[in-house]
Symmetry: C2
Subunit: 146 residues, 2 copies
């Protein structure tokens, strides 16, 4: 069986956070939004239906966990959120991944979706470090044993 | 306990399809996309995390079922799809709902998201009837007993 390999598109736009039971979790490198991407480590999966029922249920729990991590990031960088957006699109990058994004009424895309809006804004290095540390709290509770 | 009531925003933009175990399923009245909306019948839920773990798992299975129904709609109206987009946003309508949308490289928003793009295009009456009948095949397999 082929070994799972992360699609190279993710490396350019995000930073690794944690290995969860099913997913590789990454922080999107765009300071406009607190934004985590979950990539199930399953070779060839492009849609949710390509996962087994058991893995789909794990994905759902990791989405909820990522939501808690997004809220932790948002609080740590001084832009708390109480609204989440979850999206599985994959029209451009053909490897199953789920976006979990914190939204605020004063963000640059509100109330529309964030994908494809403007250009990413880099994090300042100290803010990025705080964001990663904050995300790893909730995500660390479910790190993969592998 | 309060009785579940559908947010009035849905009536204006979509047509009822089926009552699944957890969700009320509707066809979005926009002929540009084969598009189903799932609304869990849970009073006060706005985010996935507001559902119990058991209901979250049911939601996941109904998302997969809605994907099959979207593909059936797309085939029935002569615009078959093999890519799905799934989104839980709710920035505008404050009642938890999940969009399941069929995408094609020749659709008017590809490869971007569909939300907020242009104006909805009404279905021709006979096409709408075919779309609804096609969706009800897959959805009928999991209709609520209530």
């Amino acid at each position: 069986m082929d070994k799972f390999a992360l699609h190279p598109a993710f490396a350019a736009t995000s930073e690794p956070l944690a290995e969860l039971k099913l997913c590789h979790a990454r922080l999107q490198l765009d300071a406009r939004w607190s934004w985590i991407v979950l990539i199930p480590r399953k070779v060839g999966a492009r849609e949710i239906e390509h996962l087994s029922p058991q893995n789909r249920q794990q994905l759902m729990e990791e989405i909820v966990l990522a939501g808690a991590a997004v809220k932790a990031v948002a609080a740590a960088i001084g832009r708390p959120v109480d609204k989440l957006n979850v999206g599985q699109l994959g029209n451009i990058t053909p490897q199953l991944h789920v976006h979990v994004i914190g939204r605020r009424p004063d963000d640059p895309a509100w109330p529309g979706p964030v994908w494809g809006v403007g250009q990413p804004v880099p994090y300042a290095p100290d803010t990025l470090a705080r964001a990663i540390a904050a995300a790893q709290g909730p995500l660390g509770a479910m790190r993969s044993a592998s």
